[in-house]
């Protein structure tokens, strides 16, 4: 193999240096976002003091827990220049599986059901990871495909029927909203996920390798990082989290059907984008993902409080995402953004083009 094409592609990736101003914004982005969220909460609190009550804050945290957890693993994926569109479908499939498991074996302990959901999710994620890592297929295409497949499988599995709260054992439903030291299990799990992923990202080789792959896949290869293996487990992790959230979602809302969490993958990605995680890879950290998810939850929970029609929710979310990307984009000051991973370019192009 000649070195020439790789040298060319290194040159293509070298435009990632930021200006000093951009660096400043990047370093201060999370505190700024946290300040913005606090301001927003206080502003809403002025209009509707009930929003500041402990009960309402508790609701806010509980509502944002699932988005936070999924945004955390989605962040890992985006940092490697990937994207995982299949999380919502994966969530639905694992959720439906855990609901059916609990329905048919009511005496199974909840911990086993959770473990089963986690394993199903992990497996579904590893399928993505294998296709993306070892076959080097573009992540957006692979997860687009698996999104459809997983969503369809939910229907096949359930036969199109709903599993409602009457069919679920009581302790299955009770777990997510049960309280430990005043906070719901959902919030504790989100906190646990936050700490665990912070540790992984900051203090393990695995986590640092992901940033290396996202910053420059070719250079990462040169220093001996096995990108396929890393990608396999990144998507596996994203899948496992989706599996866990699948159980939590189904148990929390006490219903499972084919369309649960439809379109939720875009909410999760939006949370990451608001949190300053660059879709071009290599940039982002756990606090960004958490703050992005919290921001979305604050908007959703505040609207009814200040008597704005809930129909405005989606439009406002859109405005927030667009403002966030504009602000983050100014911070990064990069001339040529790539929307889709460049490092698959040569290989994908060769499939679709005829080779003489």
């Amino acid at each position: 193999m000649s070195l020439k094409p790789q040298i060319v592609s290194i040159a293509g990736h070298c435009s990632q240096w930021a200006t000093p101003a951009g660096n400043l914004l990047r370093r201060r982005r999370e505190p700024l976002l946290a300040l913005l969220i606090t301001l927003l909460i206080l502003l809403v609190g002025v209009r509707a003091p009930v929003f500041l009550s402990l009960h309402s804050m508790d609701n806010l945290l509980t509502d944002s827990a699932l988005t936070i957890m999924l945004a955390l693993t989605q962040m890992l994926v985006i940092v490697t220049r990937g994207i995982d569109l299949s999380v919502a479908s994966n969530l639905a499939l694992s959720g439906m599986m855990s609901a059916l498991l609990a329905m048919h074996f009511p005496h199974l302990p909840v911990s086993l059901v959770i473990a089963a959901a986690l394993c199903v999710g992990l497996l579904l994620g590893l399928v993505n990871g294998w296709l993306i890592g070892y076959l080097a297929l573009p992540p957006i295409v692979v997860t687009l495909g698996s999104m459809s497949v997983y969503r369809g499988l939910v229907f096949v599995l359930s036969g199109g029927a709903w599993v409602s709260s009457r069919n679920m054992p009581a302790d299955f439903i009770a777990f997510p909203l049960a309280r430990l030291a005043g906070l719901t299990h959902l919030v504790w799990l989100a906190a646990l996920a936050l700490v665990a992923l912070w540790y992984v990202v900051r203090h393990t080789r695995f986590g640092r390798d992901l940033y290396a792959i996202g910053n420059d896949p070719v250079a990462a290869g040169y220093v001996g990082i096995s990108a396929p293996q890393r990608l396999l487990w990144t998507y596996g992790l994203s899948g496992a989290m989706a599996g866990l959230c699948g159980y939590l979602w189904v148990a929390r809302y006490a219903v499972a059907y084919s369309e649960i969490a439809y379109g939720f993958e875009l909410t999760v990605i939006a949370a990451c984008v608001i949190g300053g995680i660059s879709i071009a890879g290599g940039i982002g950290n756990v606090s960004g993902a958490v703050l992005g998810a919290l921001f979305l939850a604050v908007i959703n929970n505040a609207l009814p409080m200040v008597q704005i029609s809930p129909f405005w929710q989606s439009a406002l979310t859109g405005l927030v995402i667009l403002s966030a990307v504009i602000i983050n984009g100014r911070g990064e000051k990069k001339r040529h953004k790539q929307i889709l991973p460049l490092h698959f370019h040569a290989s994908t192009a060769s499939i679709s083009r005829s080779s003489p």
């Binding site: 193999m1 293509g12 994207i83 569109l85 296709l131 070892y134 076959l135 080097a136 297929l137 573009p138 957006i140 295409v141 692979v142 687009l144 495909g145 459809s148 497949v149 969503r151 369809g152 499988l153 229907f155 096949v156 199109g160 396929p228 084919s258 439809y262 379109g263 875009l266 990605i269 939006a270 984008v273 879709i279 071009a280 029609s309 129909f311 405005w312 929710q313 989606s314 439009a315 979310t317 859109g318 927030v320 995402i321 667009l322 990307v325 504009i326 984009g329 001339r335 040529h336 953004k337 790539q338 929307i339 991973p341 460049l342 698959f344 370019h345 290989s347 499939i351 005829s354 003489p356």
Partner: protein, 337 residues
């Protein structure tokens, strides 16, 4: 061997350098379009054998209603993806266009004006996407995820829990009418649009430049192509086509509801990718996209005739997508360089 020595004798050179490679039947299999055509034939044949009513001309024509509107958007989407951009907001543009058409209709705009309103709204949405992507140099996937939320949100703000109905007949004529009592009008619109797009992409300088931008935007800019202007125009074109699709769709279903065209963006992108357009840009043909559209259309139609629920279709589509990109890679047995 013999011909080669003859040619060498005439040209007084030891080697013959042909304009293009020699034709081999085996090379056809490397052509994505040929594989797709083969797949389409197989799907068609299997359906013919298994389903007695499949070859009914009227049924076959009517099956095109299911994919014509999506395919209309798949055409400009192919150009966008070839150009290394993407537009996730197309289904939200349909919703917003349909809502503005409903409002215009409510205020008594004549039927022809509704088409202008629908297409115009779509084009405006495209302008917003395009300006955000080009002026602010933002990644289009993020911009359009945001604008999708915005457009769909604006549509639902106007609609609330209501629906617009009572559209004029002209819309229904184009949305669900026929030419000569057999050819569905949306399908004819699609075929005409496909021909125009094929001409644009494969027959004009603009098309060559779109490939150039997709292969290397920096090099394209250095060679004097107004890259950002092309990107902006493609986003506007995509918006306008989504507006046109909104006109046909509104006419076909006769009403505007908040969940109109929900989830179409991913189906449309699937059509484009299945059609052999490289997601990393620079490669793909309109012919391939149309073959993918027809293949998916025939599969859906066959499944519908066989009484298989529509959601099974999503599994088939997803598997088709995964298999078609994974199998060539597995067969070649080589990883990325």
């Amino acid at each position: 061997m013999n011909t080669m020595t003859e040619a060498a004798a005439v040209k007084t050179s030891r080697y013959e350098i042909a304009e293009r490679g020699k034709f081999h039947v085996a090379d056809l299999l490397n052509h994505w379009e040929c594989l797709l055509a083969l797949l389409l034939l197989i799907v068609f044949a299997v359906n013919c054998v298994l389903l007695p009513n499949f070859l009914d001309l009227y049924n076959l024509a009517d099956s095109s209603f299911n994919f014509s509107e999506k395919a209309l958007i798949a055409l400009p989407m192919a150009l966008l993806i070839i150009c290394r951009e993407i537009d996730i907001s197309v289904s939200a543009i349909i919703a917003l266009s349909s809502v503005t058409m409903g409002m215009a209709n409510h205020y008594g705009v004549p039927a022809l004006g509704l088409f202008a309103v629908g297409i115009g709204t779509g084009a405006l949405c495209g302008v917003l996407n395009g300006i955000l992507v080009t002026r602010f140099t933002l990644p289009s996937i993020v911009v359009t995820i945001g604008s999708m939320s915005l457009f769909r949100g604006l549509a639902s703000v106007v609609l609330g829990d209501q629906a617009f109905t009572n559209y004029p007949d002209l819309l229904a004529v184009w949305g669900q009418g026929y030419f000569f009592d057999v050819l569905p009008r949306p399908f004819v619109v699609l075929v005409v649009a496909a021909a125009l797009f094929a001409l644009l992409l494969h027959g004009t300088v603009w098309g060559r430049r779109i490939y150039a931008i997709g292969n290397n935007p920096v090099a394209a800019r250095f060679s004097g192509i107004a890259v950002d202007r092309y990107r902006l125009m493609l986003f506007i074109l995509t918006g306008a086509m989504a507006g046109l699709a909104a006109c046909l769709l509104t006419g076909r279903i006769g009403s505007t509801r908040p969940n109109i065209a929900m989830g179409w963006e991913l189906e449309i992108i699937t059509m484009v990718i299945l059609g052999g357009v490289s997601i990393s840009g620079g490669a793909g043909t309109i012919g391939g996209v149309m073959l993918a559209v027809l293949t998916l259309g025939m599969v859906t139609y066959g499944l519908a005739l066989a009484n298989i629920p529509g959601i099974i279709m999503t599994i088939v589509v997803g598997l088709l997508l995964l298999i078609t990109i994974a199998v060539p890679r597995l067969l070649r047995g080589k990883r990325k360089p």
